[in-house]
């Protein structure tokens, strides 16, 4: 596999650390992790993307699904430190302003 996903729970909230390549082959695993964490989370989900080497539209679609699910459940959904590859695909798909993006690891 060219992706590594770690789910960290703290005080009922979830942080997902993603590293490697997110494409049509690997995005189903990320989707499962994100949607599961959104459901279980108390009120905040953070997706750490600083170690993502590559992401295509299936990865972006997965993030969009996570955001939609979190919004529906009135939970906060943030992207933490997206890598250059992630920023590029968000920019090319014109979705860079839709997500809450943070560079701080405080939460």
């Amino acid at each position: 596999m060219s992706i590594d996903i770690q789910i960290i729970e703290k005080n009922g909230n979830y942080k997902i650390q993603v590293s490697g390549q997110v494409d049509l082959y690997t995005s189903p695993d990320l989707r499962k992790a994100i949607l599961g964490s959104v459901d279980k989370s108390k009120d905040t989900i953070i997706i750490q993307l600083s170690q993502v080497e590559y992401m295509d539209s299936s990865g972006v679609a997965t993030l969009v699904e996570g955001l939609r699910s979190a919004t529906k459940q009135k939970k906060s959904f943030k992207l933490l430190s997206p890598s250059h590859a992630v920023r590029k695909v968000l920019n090319l798909s014109r979705l860079e302003t839709v997500f809450a993006i943070t560079e701080s690891n405080e939460e």
Binding site: S2, Q21, D23, L24, Y25, Y54, D56, S57, S58, V60, A61, T62, V64, E65, L67, R68, T71, A85, K88, V89, L92, S93, R94, L95, T97, V98
Partner: protein
């Protein structure tokens, strides 16, 4: 223009990674900037993903053929598949203005990316009935000496 390479591969998502690596190496050899290479690798990956998802509906045994040719002015990739033919106007479907979390949709992103990654994108069905997507990128002006 003659093809520099032609490869044939199955429509299995796990093959996208080695295809991306091949395309990246080829574009580096053609001296495109890193930024443009990143864009085109992503664009081509989206085109292959579309073949897998829409032409072959996720079946892993479909055949995809990728050719690359480099001229003095243009770089051209051609992607062929024998799957379902897309709607005639599929390349024109790109309306995604004023996107908000409320009207956000997870589908149709690939085509937007693909069209932004290349200078020209065209589609035709060849004499064998295969779907052919042509992706073209203009090379920088070349100075002799």
């Amino acid at each position: 223009m003659r093809d520099d390479f032609t490869i044939t591969f199955r429509s299995h998502p796990k093959l996208l990674k080695p295809v991306r690596a091949l395309v990246r190496n080829y574009l580096e050899m053609a001296h495109f900037s890193k930024e443009r290479i990143d864009d085109m690798v992503l664009g081509l990956d989206e085109a292959c993903t579309n073949c897998i998802r829409h032409a072959y509906h996720g079946a892993k045994s479909g055949i995809i053929q990728l050719s690359a040719r480099l001229g003095t002015v243009w770089l051209e990739f051609e992607l062929q598949d024998c799957g379902t033919c897309p709607p005639k106007d599929f390349l024109l479907r790109e309306k995604r203005n004023n996107v908000t979390p409320a009207n956000l949709k997870p589908h149709g992103l690939g085509l937007i990316i693909l069209k932004r990654a290349f200078d020209e994108v065209s589609f035709y069905v060849n004499a064998n009935g295969e779907n052919c997507l042509v992706l073209r990128a203009r090379r920088k002006a070349f100075k002799k000496g």
